[in-house]
Amino acid sequence: MNKDTFIDDVLEVESTLYHVSKSILTHEQDCEDAVQEAILKAYNKLGTLKKEQYFKTWLVRILINECYSLKRKEYSQVPYEEYFESAKANDKENYNELYSAIQNLPERIRITIVLYYVEGYSVKEIKQILQIPTGTVKSRLAKGRNLLKIKLENMEAIYE
């Protein structure tokens, strides 16, 4: 894969990269840092990608690793004031119910749900991306579905 194909392929999955990073990280700035790092790493490691058809899942896997790496630093590095200001700003955004419900899911379940329902990955692909057994993917999806159902029903009840 040459540089231009790489650029095209990254741009093609730009929204996926945002959804994935936003499923793990809280702050927009962190999402941007993670995607930058992931793109640079992917470009440098391009020679290790065996089949171009797996580029998207490969890049998403790299991004997830970057997100978790940043996540570990996230709370220790952000000053309290800044964190609460940012959290407040995020609260003001008028997100749709589904998004709010997804964001309230436990992290590991959230990323699985996003990959499956929002990004359309198969269970097999998610297994490879998250490097977890098929059974775990399925159980996370089942738990996620139940939790979402409860959360969305509660939201409807609140608004009624």
Binding site: N2, F6, L98
Partner: protein
């Protein structure tokens, strides 16, 4: 669960995120390309879409076997065309902008009378190489994309011309003293390291396909081109699997020629 609109579950990707992606991609260092062709020595970079356009443009300029004498030293045996996959312009540039960026001043059309409208513009850097791969001539060109419904056309504007016109191009009209050259053919775009099969060799000889190199997979397209030289600028319309007719292309060319 499937009743939810999952496609719109997330807010739109923020501009700052997109900017970060663009900035990161723009800062990537170049890697060695593997675009050397087995028998034509054409090297190409560019997005898949751009590759097709540039490859075809280069093919048109070079033709099948006719090469021009280089202006500086040796003959031009091959042409390299490089473009970024990120557009230089997303709105039609002004004359001043082009003068500043390109130091040449092509005619600019935002929307053609038949409905084709400007979508974006890419910068293309071209090099004419001699037999040993030394650069003997350089040109800078613009590649504008126009769209009408789902139909796309490319208008390629080059400051000068590398190589000679293909003998397969024929004059189909003359307007304001300028000859308009038309060519139509089936193009087989293949990977850079592709080796022609016996059937391919026959197809090439019979003129069934013109072969261009640089794609990830084999793609066959119907190509139309209409080109002319005006004030030292080489204009070339390129339609790939386009529904546009030859007459319509001529009318569009006339609009460019008479534009101020």
């Amino acid at each position: 669960m499937n009743n939810y609109n999952w496609n719109n579950a997330f807010p739109d990707t923020p501009k700052s995120f997109k900017n970060k992606v663009s900035a990161t991609l723009n800062s990537l260092p170049d890697k060695k390309e593997n675009g050397e062709m087995e028998n034509k020595k054409i090297y190409k970079t560019g997005s898949i879409k751009k590759k097709i356009i540039i490859t075809l443009a280069a093919t048109l300029v070079i033709g099948t076997s006719v090469f021009a004498a280089g202006k500086i030293s040796g003959k031009i045996y091959s042409i390299t065309s490089c473009s970024s996959s990120i557009p230089t312009y997303t709105t039609i540039p002004t004359v001043e902008q082009l003068k500043k960026d390109f130091k040449f001043n092509p005619k600019l059309i935002n929307k053609f009378d038949n409905g084709y409208a400007f979508v974006n513009g890419y910068t293309v850097n071209n090099k004419g190489l001699d037999e040993e791969g030394n650069s003997v001539e350089k040109t800078k060109s613009l590649d504008f994309t126009y769209k009408k419904g789902n139909d796309k056309l490319s208008l390629y504007m080059e400051n000068g011309r590398l190589g000679e016109r293909s003998k397969k191009e024929i004059v189909i009209a003359t307007y304001n003293g300028l000859d308009l050259y038309y060519n139509s053919y089936a193009n087989k775009l293949v990977p850079a390291d592709y080796k022609l099969t016996e059937q391919d060799k026959q197809d090439k000889l019979s003129g069934k396909y013109v072969f261009s190199y640089g794609s990830d997979k084999v793609e066959i397209s119907q190509v139309q081109s209409l080109n002319w030289m005006q004030d030292g600028i080489n204009y070339s319309f390129l339609g790939i699997n386009s529904n546009i007719s030859k007459d319509e292309l001529v009318k569009m060319a006339q609009q460019v020629i008479t534009a101020k």
